[in-house]
Amino acid sequence: MSSIDAGESMAPSTPSFYAGGEGLMAWLTTRDHKRIGILYALTITVFFAMGGIAAAMIRLNLVEPAGLLDAETYNKAFTFHGVIMVWFFLIPSIPATLGNFLLPLMIGARDMAFPRLNLASWYLFVIGGLFTVSALLLGGVDTGWTFYTPFSTMFSNTHVILVVVGVFITGFATIFTGINFIVTTHTLRMPGMHWFRLPLFVWAMYTVSLVMVLATPVLAMTLSLIGLERIFGVGVFDPALGGDPLLFQHLFWFYSHPAVYIMILPAMGLVSEVIACFVRRRIFGYKFMTYSMVANAVIGFMVWGHHMFVSGMSVYASMVFSLLSFTVAVPSAIKVFNWTATLHKGDITFEAPMLYALGFVGLFMLGGLTGLMLAAPALDVPLTDTYFVIAHFHYVMVGGTVMAYLAGIHFWWPKITGRMYSEPLAKFSAILMFVGFNLTFFPQYILGYEGMPRRYHSYPPQFQVLNIFSSAGASILAVSYMLPVLYLLWSLRHGAAAGNNPWGARGLEWQTSSPPPEENFLHVPIVREAYAYDEPAP
């Protein structure tokens, strides 16, 4: 870590937060939100690689209609991929890394409100991850990431308990992060930083934290009930015990649909920062953006039933959930319109973060529109459990959240490390990622529409051509994920020193040195409205 101490070369008078305590112990006992953000970033990168290897196994298997893996191994591969990517990458991705690093900087605070809780969150995350990964090493789990009962409680002979415990523990990491973000945003804003001056990224962190705090306990409790049912044979989900498996699905999706907003809201906030910066103007309809984030968070709690149209819910419940699911698309659409309106006749420059951000808008829109199709029961019933659904949520989560995460990593890389990365390479990998992603997942829309079901290790031969396209796309995607790791690491030693504000951006974080000092600001930053690009930089 000491190698990225670039602050010295820039301004000897302001030692960066890397300077105070350089040993491993100093990092493992740190309470500095910036260091915890970096710890989280390193950890989730490892998990992303693990989940990526599982994804590679899936795509490799599906090259051949008969399947290259046996069914058991395939089941374990997609379960591991889902569990790791959802709980150990996507949920913490933007909030725990960039959110941790940036939230106090953006509101002019010295740290989070509860620094110890923040560090505890990372430790819980790592411990939960160890449980989950140990289940893999002991032979894996075959339930799918959704742990549907009664399969998970009665029939699966794999290490369900270990994974459930791992996800349970990680849930508390999420809750701690959420509590910290909410309290920090409420109490530690510097004078003049009132609510409607907050950058949209902070609004995103705030609204996502509300969802984290209110939804995650439901998952934790539901998983506990699964554990009890599996160990003691008592419970409320197993029909053999008089229980109701539909109840499990309701409780699981009561968490897991809001969890979709845990994954996408931070991306929406992040992309707003990047777009405003590279169009050099205020975000169109700032207030509507904030309201629509709140609306996403609130309505997101009321649409879980659209995962259960074929589960045996009443038709009336399906109609209500369908209607609410259409409603939740409105605030998402408002954001897409507002980003587009911000771009309209703007003076756009296409640096790498902007390419990633524009990729996000396009892919998220396609993912969102197919979500509308799935919100209609008439279409959803035949499409449930087909590759259409797989393509839909990968467009939102990979095309959406992962693209946005990379936009953010590139945008704030100079701030975090004090170094510039290689711009041509970054542009190349952003475009490569867009191409690779579409090649991987667009064929899956067609496959699903033609009726290829998910979670089978073999398929009828007529689906082979599109599956080969998809697997070929996945290998391009893999290269485009490895490239940034290489050139970003390279930049730590060889990148040009970044100034305090290489993009000419307007957020408070750009008013301090790169990397920031431990106390974040040596001079009191000047607070103005967010995205005051029509005024000169302070």
């Binding site: 740290d111 705090v213 008592v234 409320v236 008089g242 109701d244 109840l247 409780l251």
Partner: protein
Amino acid sequence: MNATVMDIEKHDGASRVEVQFNDPVQQREAATLGMWLFLSTEIMFFGVLFASYTICRVLYPEGFAEASRHTDMLFGTIETAVLLTSSSLVALALRSIKLDQRRAATWLLLGTAALGVTFLVMHGFEYYNEYTEHLIPGINFDQPGPHSRAIELFFCLYYFITGFHSVHVIIGVVLISTLAIRVAHGTFGPKNYTTLELTALYWHLVDIVWIFVYPIIYLVGRSG
């Protein structure tokens, strides 16, 4: 934040202001909001159990009515009174510390903890009686009759809910006993009682959860 309050806090020498806060008032606001958020997660935790209970009750109304007649209403009622009393004691303890009556606060906190222990002991007796009546699913459940399955489901939920609640009572007893010792040692004063106030909030939540548990487990459907 005006300077005078800060000075008073400093002279009081009790509450240390962490580096991320400007002053004790901000620190106190943050801690209080954090506690309320934590309590909201607790409500969601218990909410899952209450929702499961409601659904199962709708599925098996007669079985649940019969099952609730197996619970011990006398014990349940006394336990309710014990917990409510303990909550009032912790509220009085907070008042005493605000009035700088350390001795009274110590005794009130000890009283709260003692009532918490009483609650747990009574619950232990209840569990034991249910064991002898073959009511514990997974261990020795054996009830004849057409509603056997529903009664088993009811008692599953009963143990999940009261068990989870009792874990909270145990944590509360430990916290409040620790606070009693700290109050006796003079850690808290009229200017520095946030920890005490927040622990009291937690105890009240444990109490409020029980106020919902008591009717749904012991009372509803009993006469039906």
